[in-house]
Symmetry: C2
Subunit: 190 residues, 2 copies
DNA sequence: CAAAACTTTTGATTTAAATCAAAAAATTAT
DNA sequence: ATAATTTTTTGATTTAAATCAAAAGTTTTG
């Protein structure tokens, strides 16, 4: 497993920052591998989220309950980190559950270990800043799309942005992600 | 002006990180003060945004044109940074103009100077990570509100989040920010 | 202070999408 | 395989908000 960890994660980090030998060691020593079957929960809403998951293979969704229905907040796939953001950053309980849409394998890092890395490796702070920038740009685009497009345009945009995964996700989850009903999405799709 | 710079900005940074004497000097030496009259542009969309503005006094909006109409993307007020995010982070032209809704005074920092600070003061990277976290949480909440609330609920939420500034902003700008028409917002408000 | 320009309100009508209800299709479990 | 469960599609109706149009109210400026 060690070589796999190294190659996949190393490659990911190297997109943002150069990784020194010492950081590599400290980072990989703290990372754990885990597998989840389809439907299993990576995180439960009633707990504080203390782990951040890097998805090696598979697909997960973050969702919450509203009027008894599951509302998808985001999808996360290969080579992305996922956690319950508010819970993870502020060490408190939040509304999100995270489950596996497909059988999923991940590497995870404890928040305390991440804190250690931030304290001892400034380049990790830089990595966080740069990768958060990419996420922010994604969120900003989503906000624009949500405000000024029809249901059809929302779906088309979704298929572009998530072109590798849109066909792997049940329709109902996509609908709530887009803020439309599944009946509407079903009609759009045909 | 020097003491004012120091007190306002110093206080802001200290919310996130301790500021060393040397960072203080390097930071304040690079920051410029500027005033804008109501209606003046801080940033024009056809240029690359190379400055980030910290608002000392006043109120600005970032907007773009869609079908000939001005669509507000966000409002920024006292003690907040504002720039054209994609343009600033990726050094390319984007769609946003930024103008002053009220007479506004700012401190600005050039992207190259910010880069210098990131390279020499790891705590600045941390500051960026932490403050971006706060912005991300704000964007996530906005996404949830946009998808599942009525126009009235959107407006009520807006007034809560922007309780100090909502009454200072023309109705049409608020409407486009919320993704509703100004006729609808006018009806909601009475 | 009056004219011009801009912003907000009001009214009538249309429309995209929600809601309610049920059937069909696809998965999952026995 | 067959039953049970879940997901998706189809149909009829309602509704919130958009659109179109114009009047009323503000603010700016010459």
């Amino acid at each position: 497993m060690e070589t796999q960890k190294e190659s996949i994660l190393y490659h990911h980090f190297e997109k943002f920052i150069p990784i020194s030998e010492s950081l590599k060691i400290e980072l990989f020593n703290r990372i754990e591998y885990q597998e989840f079957k389809k439907g299993e929960l990576l995180h439960q809403s009633h707990k504080v989220c203390t782990k951040s998951y890097f998805i090696q293979k598979g697909l997960v969704r973050s969702f919450f309950l509203k009027d008894g229905k599951e509302i998808t907040e985001f999808f996360s796939c290969e080579n992305e980190w996922v956690n319950s953001p508010k819970s993870f950053m502020q060490r408190k309980v939040d509304i999100y559950d995270i489950d596996a849409i497909e059988d999923t394998s991940v590497f995870w890092l404890e928040i305390n270990d991440l804190g250690y890395l931030f304290d001892h490796f400034p380049e990790m702070e830089r990595y966080a800043r740069l990768s958060m920038g990419a996420i922010m740009r994604h969120l900003l685009e989503r906000i624009t799309i949500l405000r000024f497009t029809t249901a059809k345009e929302k779906y088309n945009h979704f298929c572009e942005v998530y072109k590798d995964i849109y066909h792997r996700i049940p329709l109902g989850m996509v609908a709530s992600y887009l803020g439309i009903t599944q009946e509407t999405l079903s009609r759009i799709r045909k």
